[in-house]
Symmetry: C2
Subunit: 335 residues, 2 copies
């Protein structure tokens, strides 16, 4: 590829991940940030430099009108960081695709949308091919640590019996948004109520299981998921929150894939304040076996942003259509 | 892809890796072994079942005539496991490509042939496109542990300053061919003589460095390589060889990539009998940093075979041309 020509980016969604994305894009040689979109009233009309807390104007005004921004700036790719659910973001994706722009999205369910939305998936793929653009959902988790990397590690095996991944995150080291997401400081009852209302927890666990099965050509009988609170065994204070003994420290979320009556995929995610020995690990029960450990775990806040940006040139170069991480060339850092 | 249709394979080269490949292909549901080729007089004309030490005939006669076998069997892919050097295997590759067959090769220099053979690389790419086939060089090392996996791990970083990989192999656990390759049991003088004659050592270290740089769009100033003996500090007996104190236990082979006066890639491979704490490790000095360890290291003898076979469906599905691991979808185990 021609690396002398900068990739033109529009950042759509200026929440926690989106603002981080914008900052990183601004600092990278390979990219040019040409537009910023968000619908929040307090953000629209501000200069992006002010919104990002930079000490300079960027002469880039946050707009609520994505169609106008895309038409005026003609970007190579939109970094889409708004919501977690495919049916919610579907109209947003339609608009971007119909403008003829490639999309890299942090929407967790878009990692493997086929799982819950086969019809919307078909529509997105058809639309992407019609407008000759590529659409991808990714991130660090879901998107890499517990799925793409696990898939990659099976490549050295002549035979794979089971894929397991675990990610133990000390939530006290992460952003407030993550601590809230995992229920830190709630009572156990509040935790269960919010989980049942779909307002809490990690999104994308079943999609990670499904992506692994898809990549390995495994037809699963079922995908199951369990979500439980991790209860604090002592008081704990984070920079943002206090947790008392007996309150929720965080979450334990496990995904299981079953094939021919056997559990063949097991993904164990624990994110709570005070987690001891945080790490990521992947074990492939196969020939030969593989046991990989990432010391301290991959730091999620920044890694998710990195992945979204790094795959952009790969998505731009790919064949049109709705893709998964298993369909594209190996991810790697970009300039 | 249609996984109900078996992939037809011809195995070309029936040495240590080639015979292992053939055995694994025979045991996998996704593949059908339709031909076996080798030029060694003691192998030509034998039944492959006998050659592989199976207790049954396969009714597959080892042939020295690759053109004839390819014309008669029309395979989807050739697993090419003959020699290490691109200029040596070039005529073999020409023959396979001209038959219209995809190639996955264990030729170490083919991991990144552009480094030492830009003109032959151009010719192979042109020929592959003419005959609409895909050609790939891969393996576990070179091919995965110290290059493809290291590249993949940079994907979670917004910025990468240095890529390091180390692979410490206890050669006493490996095949005799590996122990001979790393000089086990030689005197230090014999070791240096054979290294200088190009008859000993790991092939592909500079290619691994070059592949990483290519994937990261880094223009290196230079790629350097050092090769030293690891001298036995005590007597050691392997199932195949005896090593006396003061003799060569194995090899230390380090590849260095320099950019703008800084060492940005460092790959440290040690393969010797009696190596303590064998492991693979990858460290990305970046934002965030990544430190990955594979306990005991990936078992190379089987992993190399697995990689050659597992990437076959990816190579078959890829666009025509001479490709690298950094150009193709993420590797994964195949049925």
């Amino acid at each position: 590829m021609d690396t002398t020509k900068k990739i033109k980016v529009v950042q759509l969604g200026l929440g926690s991940i989106g603002t981080s994305c914008a900052k990183v894009v601004l600092n990278k040689n390979g990219f040019e940030l040409v537009g910023a979109v968000d619908v929040a009233e307090d953000k629209v009309g501000t200069d992006l430099g002010d919104l990002l807390g930079l000490n300079r104007k960027l002469n880039l005004e946050v707009s609520a009108d994505v169609q106008k921004v895309l038409a005026e700036t003609e970007p190579d790719v939109v970094l889409h960081t708004t919501q977690s659910f495919v049916d919610v973001v579907f109209p947003q994706l339609e608009t971007i695709i119909a403008s003829g722009t490639n999309v890299v999205s942090s929407t967790e369910e878009l990692l493997f949308p086929q799982l819950k939305y086969p019809e919307l998936t078909r529509q997105l793929d058809t639309l992407a091919k019609k407008y000759e653009v590529t659409v991808l959902g990714t991130g660090v988790n879901p998107g890499f640590v517990m799925d793409t990397l696990a898939i990659t590690m099976t490549s050295v095996c002549t035979n794979v019996r089971k894929v397991t991944a675990e990610r133990y995150v000390d939530a006290s080291k992460r952003q407030l948004s993550l601590q809230k997401k995992v229920g830190t400081g709630l009572t156990v009852e509040e935790f269960h109520n919010l989980i049942n209302a779909g307002k809490l927890g990690h999104i994308g666990m079943k999609e990670s299981v499904a992506l692994i099965a898809y990549a390995l050509h495994w037809e699963l009988d079922t995908i199951e998921e369990s979500i439980d609170p991790v209860v604090a065994e002592e008081d704990f204070i984070t920079p943002y929150l206090k947790v008392k003994k007996g309150q929720v420290a965080g979450i334990k979320n496990v995904g299981h894939g079953w094939k021919d009556g056997q559990e063949v995929i097991a993904l164990d995610l624990r994110m709570y304040v005070g987690a001891q020995n945080p790490h990521d690990a992947i074990t492939i029960e196969g020939d030969p076996p593989v046991h990989l450990i990432i010391k301290d775990g991959i730091f999620g806040d920044l890694a998710a942003v990195a992945m979204l940006i790094n795959v952009a040139p790969i998505v731009i170069a790919a064949e049109p259509g709705l893709k998964t991480m298993a369909d594209l060339p190996i991810p790697r850092a970009f300039l």
